[in-house]
């Protein structure tokens, strides 16, 4: 196994990346703000590629503007294109918010976006102009997850202002599915607490059918709630790795929105893993109980009970199985911990993220009982492909880009997270809490049963 790692390390190039670029993460967060349209300050292709990538996953319109750099822009600066872009976006969309993400190009030529925004505002003094949020997301720094968390931080740091005390609980839920976000909101509603989930793309990236085209779909975290985040009673953050390494925040030593609010506005922050599995979900519900002083509603306690019942019913189908898990670091971390909880051994856990803390975090969550588990940061799919044969996995768990490896090995793959480009309904998958864990558990058990049934010489009618 050591040999395999060394072999893959000899490649300078990235072969079939297990990550995406930073502006994609920013675009996701902007889609989760009410009335917001994202604009990418760079070449036209960045916006179009990201739109296409997100559309193929969410099956929804994803409008992202571009300042459309030309040769001239690149030499003389992007001021003109920036202003034209904003003017046109305002005319077409009349947005309440414009979220601006930088790119490798605009950062490399030294575009000062805060200054461009300021100049635009001065030029249009007296007009009702949109709220501007800017995130620095050069794609040569980190992955889409760094862009995601950086943008959450930027939005909060630029908008949150102290005012009247509030009972709001801030929930920074990380990169989860629209269905997951709706579920968190349902939980909070059932607790009867005031809350903000940010970013909330549960409607904007999973709309009902429309009669007329909505240029800006309804939904998203209201700006008023983001402003109010400074007055909240507490913050909860999902993810323990987040953007640990690449934090480009210039104004503060805080790396995440939760940290920033704690530091600057004394809002206590609870950081916890993405709540996948019973233990991690318990942590989330207990935190809500502690903050609100309200017991977990019966409805959710029953859901937990049914999940335990399912664990018992299904435990033999999964015990001792070997999994390969890949995707975003926080997703991988929580998935490995969940698999540990049900008796599946992860033999390889990998991510294109570069925090270099995945191994340490996994050891902490699993008690270090898997000394042979290969844990890799800065991983690409071809490295996985070259290592898996000798690992003899029973199942692959990750985004759809790993399908080709599972196909070569003729093993089942359970698709989770982002992107899922080769299956239907990705926006409706649950991953977190008791409900998400139940769904994942059912899917994993059934994938293993189906594999066994299909490879059985007689087939069988009862499991």
């Amino acid at each position: 196994m050591e040999l395999a790692i060394n072999k893959s390390n000899t490649f300078t190039s990235t072969r079939n990346a297990c990550k995406l670029c930073s502006p994609l993460g920013a675009s996701l967060v902007f889609k989760g703000i009410e009335g917001c349209i994202p604009m990418i300050h760079g070449s036209q292709g960045c916006a179009t590629y990201i739109r296409r990538y997100m559309i193929s996953h969410y099956k929804e319109p994803v409008d992202i503007a571009s300042s459309n750099f030309s040769e001239e822009t690149t030499i003389y600066g992007g001021n003109k294109n920036f202003c034209t872009g904003i003017d046109n976006v305002r005319k077409m969309y009349n947005p309440a918010v414009i979220g601006i993400a930088s790119t490798c190009l605009s950062e490399t030529i030294g575009e000062d976006i805060p200054r461009l925004i300021k100049e635009y505002a001065q030029l249009h003094e007296g007009e009702q102009i949109p709220v501007f949020i800017h995130a620095s997301t050069p794609s040569y720094q980190g992955s889409h997850m760094d862009g995601f968390h950086e943008t959450v931080l930027s939005a909060v740091a630029s908008l949150a202002t102290e005012g009247a005390t509030s009972k709001q609980i801030n929930i920074f839920s990380g990169f989860i599915s629209p269905a997951d976000i709706r579920y968190i909101k349902e939980i909070c509603d059932d607790f009867g607490v005031e809350y903000m989930v940010f970013p909330d793309y549960s409607d904007t990236l999973d709309n009902p059918h429309w009669k007329d085209y909505q240029l800006i779909p309804e939904g998203g975290t209201p700006v008023a709630q983001i402003k109010n985040a400074a007055n909240a009673i507490a913050s909860i953050e999902f993810g323990t790795i987040m953007n640990k390494v690449v934090s480009t925040s210039k104004s503060s030593a805080a790396h995440t929105a939760g940290e920033w609010l704690e530091k600057h506005h004394s809002v206590p922050n609870t950081r916890m893993p993405l709540p996948i599995g019973i233990e991690a979900s318990d942590m989330f519900f207990k935190t809500l109980e502690t903050i609100s002083g309200i017991a977990t509603p019966r409805h959710h306690a029953r859901e937990r009970g049914r999940l335990i019942d399912a664990y018992v019913d299904g435990h033999k189908y999964v015990f001792g199985k070997r999994a390969v898990v890949f995707g975003e670091e926080d997703m991988v971390l929580s998935m490995v911990a969940f698999l540990h909880e049900i008796g599946i051994e992860t033999v390889l856990a990998g991510s294109g993220g570069e925090s270099n803390s995945l191994k340490k975090e996994i050891d902490a969550r699993t008690g270090g009982v898997y000394p042979n588990m290969i844990v890799m940061n800065n991983l690409d799919f071809e490295t996985i492909n070259e290592m898996v044969d000798e690992l003899k996995p029973d199942i692959f768990i990750g985004n759809s880009k790993g399908y080709y490896i599972a196909r070569r090995l003729k093993k089942p793959i359970v698709r989770i997270g982002f992107p899922i480009h080769d299956r239907f309904g990705a926006q409706r998958l649950h991953h977190i809490g008791y409900r998400g864990t139940q769904e994942l558990f059912d899917r994993i058990v059934n994938a293993l049963i189906e594999y066994k049934q299909e490879h059985s010489p007689v087939g069988y009618k009862y499991i």
């Binding site: 990550k19 916006a47 296409r52 193929s56 571009s66 872009g85 077409m92 709309n207």
Partner: protein, 441 residues
């Protein structure tokens, strides 16, 4: 809110006698949410199907990640093209330069994958940090003894169309380097990318006519064939937007004539076969072409008649990559009783838009380099029932209750040739006749 920006007016017109000529071939307007990608994208989609070449993208990870196995272009042999290779530039590379990383990446990948050639795509920041890609390519070519060809594709240096040209320039480097003996009645197929195996359908027709296929550029493409492309007697060019430049260059350099054809729809497909046969001035070949057309017509028409009857009176919006394909689609739709009420493309040409103006019914909206706001307004105004486009148009159609047919990279059924026409009709029928629409009205 305005669906149409003032600065976009010149790129929108209507079919009819006294309507204005459309403006096209312009950079996209900032903030207009164009459906186009960039120069890099243009070069990447054209060269991507060359299956035994290494395609290395020099830049940060995004450009490579978003184009990994993007096109579904099938190969009958090697599949190196389905891999996504990137130098994955990081901050330190941007500061200190990425040349060393590029060289190391090229050397290791050529050793590991044994490609017959390597294409090195430069992306936005490479154009800015000033890496000398040319000299790295020359150096590696000398070391590894395979063609290592730079593709100049910084995203901001023009439009997607300029990317087509960058791809053609890269291909030009290869063409003429082979030394295979020339064969009689040989053609190159330019501008088919073998999506869903479409190229193989076309090759079958040509072979039945006694034509030798010298090189396919770039569908199911091979370096060796492209290197010998100058041995053909004729270049048959589809998707003229992307490949015309190469055809013109080959005419100038090697005296090879070219003709523009389309393989979409019965009419254009048949014309293609007749025109190629006529070019070779060979009676036997023409007789065989007629036989193919007669046979396929007899087979297809009764089936198409059924669809036509069901679809009669339906209205379609067409928004595709190039205007040449749009012309074929208008005709193919008409054949099955569907009227085109909106037609547009990302990178159309003035000549072709003029043909579209003549071809369409009066009042049909014609648009260049459109966006979601416009397209959704146009389909509403014209009460279109079906949209024919690509991935980015699909949610616009579905969200407001129009049927949809993917005529772009992600199609899984062949839409070219005679059986492609049948598949097209079936798909239009399926999307128009689905019972689900009763819930969206």
């Amino acid at each position: 809110m305005n669906a149409i920006l003032k600065d976009r007016n010149s790129q929108i017109t209507r079919a009819g006698a006294d309507t204005k000529t459309i403006a096209c071939n312009k950079p996209s307007l900032a903030g207009a949410v164009s459906q186009r990608a960039c120069v890099f994208c243009g070069s990447r989609v054209v060269l991507y199907p060359i299956a035994d070449a290494l395609h290395l993208i020099h830049g940060p990870i995004g450009c490579a990640a978003y184009t990994w196995d993007i096109r579904g272009a099938m190969s009958s042999g090697p599949e190196i093209h389905r891999m996504s290779f990137s130098t994955d530039l990081h901050e330190k590379d941007v500061v200190f330069g990425g040349e060393k990383k590029l060289e190391a990446a090229l050397l290791e990948l050529i050793d590991a994958y044994n490609p017959k050639a390597a294409f090195v795509y430069s992306t936005c920041i490479v154009g800015v940090i000033g890496d000398d890609i040319e000299s790295i390519c020359r150096k590696v070519q000398a070391l590894k003894q395979i063609p290592v060809i730079p593709v100049h594709a910084p995203g901001f240096q023009g439009t997607k169309k300029d990317g087509y040209r960058a791809a053609c320039e890269a291909l030009e480097v290869l063409v003429g380097t082979g030394n295979r003996p020339a064969q009689e009645f040989s053609i190159n197929i330019l501008g088919d990318f073998n999506l869903a195996g479409e190229l193989w359908i076309l090759i079958d027709y040509y072979k039945r006519m006694g034509i030798h296929i010298n090189a396919t550029i770039t569908g199911d493409g091979r370096v060796e064939d492209i290197a010998n492309a100058h041995k053909a007697q004729l270049n048959v060019v589809q998707c003229s937007g992307s490949m015309m430049y190469l055809a013109k260059q080959m005419k100038e350099k090697y005296g090879i004539p070219f003709m523009k054809v389309s393989y979409f729809g019965i009419e254009d497909m048949s014309d293609a076969l007749y025109e190629v046969a006529t070019f070779f001035k060979n009676d036997d070949m023409l007789a065989k072409a007629k036989e193919i057309v007669r046979f396929e017509f007899a087979r297809l028409m009764p089936e198409l008649a059924v669809y036509k009857q069901a679809l009669q009176g339906k209205k379609a919006a067409v928004y595709v990559g190039g205007s040449f394909k749009a012309i074929s689609l208008i005709k193919a739709l008409r054949l099955i009783g569907v009227q085109t009420v909106v037609v547009g493309s990302q990178t159309g040409t003035a000549d072709e838009y003029e043909i579209i103006k003549q071809l369409c019914d009066e009042g049909t909206i014609i648009v260049d380099d459109s966006n979601p706001a416009e397209l959704s307004a146009f389909v509403k105004e014209t009460k279109a029932d079906i949209f024919i486009g690509g991935v980015k148009e699909r949610p616009i159609a579905y969200k407001i209750g129009l049927g949809f047919c993917d005529h772009n990279h992600e199609r899984k059924e062949a839409l070219a040739g005679y059986e492609g026409m049948l598949n097209f009709a079936k798909e239009i029928y399926a999307t128009a006749m689905s019972p689900v629409w009763k819930f969206t009205k």
